[in-house]
């Protein structure tokens, strides 16, 4: 087990090095950089620009820049944001925290809905609840995230029930603890709703398909023959037997916690990583882009690692297969 974890962590480290190299390469291939844009500002002299280039190492060749950035990263320094004039790590921390607040709640809701509904739908295959769920998930799947988010925003504006964008009301700091929590919760409803509506149909269909696969299996019928109650059969036996593809999907859900909400965050003005990265890309704020991509990759790799470890723990066949390696 320890060897397996070490090997997987080694693979993950190599993958991160590869991703950081590629991100560095691609951002340097893009025409112009942030400091080039500053040339247009008549208040910034040529001398200042040269000094800034030397300070941030932008005048160095790519390999030197990469090594400098990578060694800084080992000390926890992710570089400096030209646009914000602040260290990237501290900027990313706040934005990532906001994104995680949104996506974690949305993921818990999406799985909380997809699991029971998917199981219910599979159990009633071809019955009216199943047909209704299949139709509803199909309809949601063909609506793009952007349209979904805009539709919800329109609903918020027309009804006035929820704030149309942002994370908190102006002056929220002066409110009491309870009022502040209520304000945050109200601001969360729309983006969480949009994320749940966009991710839940995919999850639900996977749950349904996985459960359908095992419900017809001979060992589940045998368990029924032993007199197992329906709920226990579905949630303890069928779900456990159908777990492998769902655990992998859960890993992907974890992995996309930072990167899966970009469009929704932009449309709903949620101050998360999405709009922050988009601004950084448009402004060619080099280290913010690289830092953001790397952080998303860390989550993706960690999500997959968690899924693999869960599979290893849950399935004796995988343990037997990988046990000695």
């Amino acid at each position: 087990m320890t060897r397996y974890i070490l090997r997987r962590t080694g693979h993950a480290a190599l993958l991160l090095v590869g991703v950081s190299l590629l991100t560095f390469l691609f951002t340097s291939l893009a025409p112009r950089d942030y400091l080039d844009e500053m040339k247009l500002n008549p208040q910034v002299s040529q001398g200042t620009l040269v000094a800034l280039r030397a300070k941030y190492g932008v005048d160095q060749p790519l390999p030197v820049r990469y090594v400098r950035w990578a060694t800084g990263l080992l000390r926890g320094d992710m570089g400096f944001s030209f646009a914000y004039g602040a260290p990237v790590a501290s900027l990313l921390r706040v934005r990532a925290r906001n994104t995680l607040l949104l996506t974690t709640i949305a993921m818990l809701f999406a799985w909380g809905v997809a699991l029971p509904l998917g199981i219910w739908s599979a159990e009633r295959e071809s019955g009216w609840p199943d047909r209704l769920i299949t139709f509803a998930t199909g309809a949601l799947l063909i609506v793009p995230d952007l349209v979904l988010a805009l539709g919800l925003l329109l609903f918020a504006v027309r009804s006035g029930w929820f704030p149309a964008g942002g994370m908190a009301a102006v002056g929220v700091e002066s409110l009491s603890w309870a009022a502040r929590a209520r304000d945050y919760a109200l601001h969360l409803v729309l983006p969480v709703g949009a994320l749940v509506l966009s991710t839940c149909p995919v999850l639900l269909r996977h749950v349904r398909a996985a459960i359908l696969d095992v419900l017809d299996s001979s060992f589940i019928r045998a368990a029924r023959g032993h007199g197992i109650p329906r709920r226990r059969l579905l949630y303890r036996y069928a779900l456990r037997a159908a777990a492998n593809p769902l655990v992998s999907l859960f890993g992907l859900s974890l992995g996309t916690l930072l990167s899966g909400s970009l469009i929704i965050e932009v449309v709903m003005s949620w101050p998360g990583l999405g709009p922050f990265l988009l601004e950084a890309i448009l402004a060619r704020d080099l280290f913010v882009v690289i830092g953001g991509v790397l952080l998303s990759t860390v989550f993706l790799v960690a999500g997959n690692l968690v899924a693999d470890l869960l599979l290893y723990w849950a399935d004796p066949r995988i343990r037997a297969e990988r046990g000695g390696s």
Binding site: S217, F219, A222, A223, G225, H226, G227, D315, P316, A320
Partner: protein, 276 residues
């Protein structure tokens, strides 16, 4: 094989059993398929009824109905006078331990995530019988009864051979001390020597525990070895029935003759020749 089945009271009585269902991918007519059509038979306690028939004759559907895993469209199934088809799912749960099914595929019928011990004690857990230590002790006894070493108990079921798996499936079925065991082609996926071992095991268990078997197969040599009575199923109907000796010597219906004709000709240790 026990003697004189006609003198014993019927444990299982099946009357006018019908099973119709709509296929998942119906053809242009969209009509329902009749899998069982007026099936009627009884099995005396402690005896073996062999149900034989060609593929698609309704054998496995009948097995599923007898094990109460499918609800028949019409007709009744009675176990010792108790009408099973009239019971709600909740009431049926209490009766299920008395009827156990051993299915054809020893690979698909055991949960691949479990160990051999977990497989055997699973029915006891489901029925909340005995404490943890008692369950393990019962499992040890069951392993012995089906001729498996208890040292294999902690191993995952994936490490077992087909014959060992079928022994495990039988041990699992016996865990709840059933009165009726339905063996749906339970030996057909095994090689000849393992088939003979399991058949002997079933006969021993019948002698020691007085079990009643419904033995579903298309293997006539095995029928001659284990059954007291034979019923021939064709297109969901029982077309011929009788004691095994009579059926083996003087089969009358065309479907029975076709089954004999389809059996490879050989003269076995029992002196039986297919088609004789």
């Amino acid at each position: 094989m026990s003697s004189a089945p006609g003198t014993m009271p019927a444990l299982l009585t099946v009357e006018s059993l019908e099973m119709r269902y709509r296929p998942r991918n119906p053809g242009p007519s969209g009509s329902a398929v009749t899998a069982l059509d007026g099936v009627l038979f009884a099995v005396a306690a402690g005896t073996t009824l062999a149900l034989v028939g060609a593929s698609g004759s309704g054998k496995s559907t009948l097995a599923q109905c007898l094990a109460c895993l499918e609800r028949p469209t019409a007709g009744t199934i009675q176990l010792d006078g108790l009408e099973l088809t009239a019971l709600s799912e909740r009431k049926l749960r209490a009766v299920r331990p008395q009827i156990q099914l051993v299915s054809q595929d020893p690979y698909a019928s055991l949960n691949p995530r479990l160990t051999a011990l977990e497989i055997v004690i699973e029915p006891l857990e489901v029925q909340r019988r005995f404490s943890g230590a008692e369950r393990a002790e019962r499992a040890r006894g069951l392993f012995e009864r089906v001729g498996l070493s208890f040292r294999l108990a902690p191993r995952p079921v994936g490490e077992f051979s087909g014959g060992q798996r079928q022994r495990l499936a039988i041990a699992r079925a016996l865990a709840l001390e059933p009165r009726l065991l339905i063996l749906d082609e339970a030996l057909s996926a095994l090689d000849a020597s393992v088939q003979a071992q399991i058949a002997n095991l079933l006969l021993d268990l019948q002698q020691t525990s007085g079990l009643t078997y419904v033995f579903i197969t298309h293997d006539l040599a095995m029928v001659a070895r284990v059954a007291d009575d034979v019923a021939v199923l064709e297109r969901g109907r029982i077309v011929e029935r009788g004691p095994v000796n009579q059926m083996m010597r003087r089969p009358a219906h065309a479907a029975t003759l076709a089954l004999f004709a389809a059996t490879p000709r050989f003269v076995g240790p029992l002196g039986l020749q297919a088609g004789e």
